[in-house]
Amino acid sequence: MSVLIIAEHDNHTLSPETSKVITASLSLESDCQVLVAGYQCQAVAEQAAGIAGVDKVLLADHPVYTHWLAENLSALIAEVSADYSHLLMAATTTGKNILPRVAGLLDVGLLADVVSIESADTVIRPIYAGNALAKVKSVDSKKLITVRTSAFASSATSGAAAPIVELEKVIESPNSEYVSSEITQSSRPELPAARVVVSGGRGLGDKTHFAMIEKLADKLGGAVGASRAAVDAGFVSNDLQVGQTGKIVAPELYIAVGISGAIQHLAGMKEAKVIVAINKDPDAPIFDIADYGLVGDLFEILPELIEKL
């Protein structure tokens, strides 16, 4: 039994999510290998090789893999997959884009957004925006899994380096082409990896008021999040959205400011260790799950809170 983890990276650095997928795979107690596909990504392969529990790294380094197009990358993964009982990837937008396509090519099912691996064929995954947990058994010969990384810890580095094997396979993608990307610049920690997340909602009323959320986040060394209402109102860009359709976070401290607590938002943050809610409506559903609630005007509370920290 061998597990293949498809690494996510930007051609320079291995993503923290991949490290968590490696942790998730260790419960399978089998040979753990990592596939690094990209262009000029030798450094990524070396980082992966240094993680505890990794037995081997496969490196597919070629310009055709530069932009992670689903079409050729899924074909590559499907070809490589023959020797493995499990294929794992983080349930990021990249993992969700690529691994279901691999499943389609291999004619097997996929266990999505898994929060716990119970045994070699059985997992737990949330359904209905996290309002139910399903225990699901795969009856396929090959198990494909995307891992909800907020449910797993990062893995340690081993000090030793696993061998890196280069793959010569080059697969073109004739029907799809990368045009451009627009990456949001931020000096704050990444949302899914942050220890503290401060999120703002519609209650902020205006884009300019979001600066208070940013200030509070900076004071706590945290990341900034938002509810869908705040994103739709144009306060912040959509990659900051926390919820069923955005990012899933499980920080030590989550502070929800001016967020009522719709089911879709709670799905993205209710695994946080400590939840603080600041809202003027004492009946807002967010107070039902908040460890500490403060009812009042956020425009008075936020400046005071920033000052007292």
């Binding site: 279901p100 139910a132 401290l253 209710k270 603080v276 500490y292």
Partner: protein, 250 residues
Amino acid sequence: MKVLVAIKRVIDPYVKIRVKSDGSGVEQHNVKMAINPFCEIAIEEAVRMKEAGLASEVVVVSVGETSCQEQLRTALALGADRAIQIDSAAQDEPLNIARILHAVVKSESPDLVIMGKQSIDSDNNQVAQMLAAISGFPQGTFASKIEVDNGFIKVTREIDGGLETLKLRLPAVVSTDLRLNEPRYASLPNIMKAKQKPLDVISLDTLGVTLSQHQEILAVSPPPARQGGTKVGSVSELVDKLKNEAKVIS
């Protein structure tokens, strides 16, 4: 250009679901049903393409029992030209739905397939990608903007760090994200007109798709309930609790 839109009937997103006490699933009896919100966005996008003269025909398809005709009629009222119900009581495993939709793609030969990025019940986010793989089409998932351009489609996708734009050769499969558009409501006259529009029912047998089981749901349980918290009276008290009780800040 012919556009195929795949939609799903799901429990209304505003309903608070209940897990059955025997752990067999979620209570569906006497619960309000609706079109999956991401599918509404897919219908809207296809109808806008028709209104802009880019699409010649919009065909909407759903896989399910007779009850899903209700959602197909709504799609017709929103502007789709005709509907197809694939009559199937099969378990809604994404791979099986993708294989059924592939059979529809073979018979309808659309230039573009649009569907939601995920259904809000099973939260799988798989069918579009699987259909694209089986059909050999390129895929534009989590689309927040699409532009059709002479045999190609430019798709702007919502990715973790921001946005990414791809150019795909048609035919292609696109899955919709929330910000692609704002779906319209069906007007009463259009609801009346939709009753006259064609709705074909096709049985799984005539489609010639054999399904296989890939997954088995062993149990469904409610998530562990969070301990109800306390309300604090002031900012000072909050800071004190976070420092000394929860110990999450120093």
